[in-house]
Homo-oligomer: 220 residues x 2
Amino acid sequence: MNVVMFVRDNGGEAALCRESLRETRKKELKEEIFLQALRMFKERGYENVTVEEITAACGIAKGTFYNYFPRKEHILLHLGQVKRALFDEAIARYSGVTDVRQRLKLIFGHVMSQSDLEPDLMKVTILEILRSWLLVEQEWQLMTEFEQQLTPLFAEAIAIGQVSPRSNPRELASVLVGIYLHALFAWLTKPEQGDKVELFNAHLDMMWDGMKKEGGAYGA
Amino acid sequence: MNVVMFVRDNGGEAALCRESLRETRKKELKEEIFLQALRMFKERGYENVTVEEITAACGIAKGTFYNYFPRKEHILLHLGQVKRALFDEAIARYSGVTDVRQRLKLIFGHVMSQSDLEPDLMKVTILEILRSWLLVEQEWQLMTEFEQQLTPLFAEAIAIGQVSPRSNPRELASVLVGIYLHALFAWLTKPEQGDKVELFNAHLDMMWDGMKKEGGAYGA
DNA sequence: GTCACTAAATGAACGTGGTCATGTTTGTAA
DNA sequence: TTACAAACATGACCACGTTCATTTAGTGAC
């Protein structure tokens, strides 16, 4: 039997607040499982790492994994949460940029350049995020949250006259998320064709200016 | 042991061309497996139907399934091929429509309204198509083919001055596929918010005209 | 310390997708 | 007819994700 006591550096707290020994152990073990799994996924690929190997690396039994993550793929969804945090951060950081198109480029550039997984791990992560978006009924969903966070930004852009008022902010946000997703997909399938941030920027420009040939010479 | 001889109505051909007996049998059994599987997926959902149940319904052994489809999910990819055929058909059918934006609406409208699966089956199918796009190295890929088929259409649109020449046709096609995918996703996650064809049309218009506020009153 | 209570850990067992060694059928050629 | 090879079918078997009845151990009351 494996005996692993994660006493760590917070033993003092245990005496202070009730349940803390159990609860901190719980949080720490979840993090431990997550980190070990991530490390192994990076080294050998998601499909090639078994739950049993992850638990062995943590010194726990196979069944224990499922006390912390309902499914193997929830490790990847947990990763998605990191992206969400980055998104929040970026929106706050660039809220002062007055040109909305530029602000969007900065926001997405931040999200894309920070969370740099290996492309292969990124692929399975995105697929799992999409799968849970489509197949799992749940209160929150990463994609929906992205939309919700972008909506006020478009409302503002319409209000200050940088975006045409003919579409509603929510729909604009939704389409932009689509552009983002597709740029990611396009880059993941052909990474040799340039940087993913530049690809997204190009698609955003296309979206912003429109495809149609404008009358006469078209502006900037 | 199950003895199932699919002699069918083409026994005559067998005498005519060599190998035909074997080959037609092969095609027919593949089709039989496909149809039985599809029926069961529709009735009970993809995840709730086992390969063994499919083969039992066809009167064959489990292992035989894998002589016809390398994986369970290839049933769904086979479904994707139907969509591809629809796409070909639609491009040919509407090649005479001179307004390119209108033509695109007709093409995608055709594809979307014809292949009407239950949304749930559509979800797993799209996810498998995306998974194979991202994870399987293969010569052809549905998404890539869509792009390739749309590219000359955009080249033409640029040539006749309906689309701004500032982007290249391939990139325009790529972005349009993204719009299509995202419209599908948006509809699948919230089907109550209207028809999927109208949703795509709205997004196409947005893409075509652009988001930005144009100087003065914006045209048609 | 002891006891009852409960959260957490455990690993055997299960279900299912996928493999493989083996057996069988079919087409071909002597 | 017979011999042979290739295609095809078979189901026991395996690997891995997931479940669950049982055991272990933290906790609070006395």
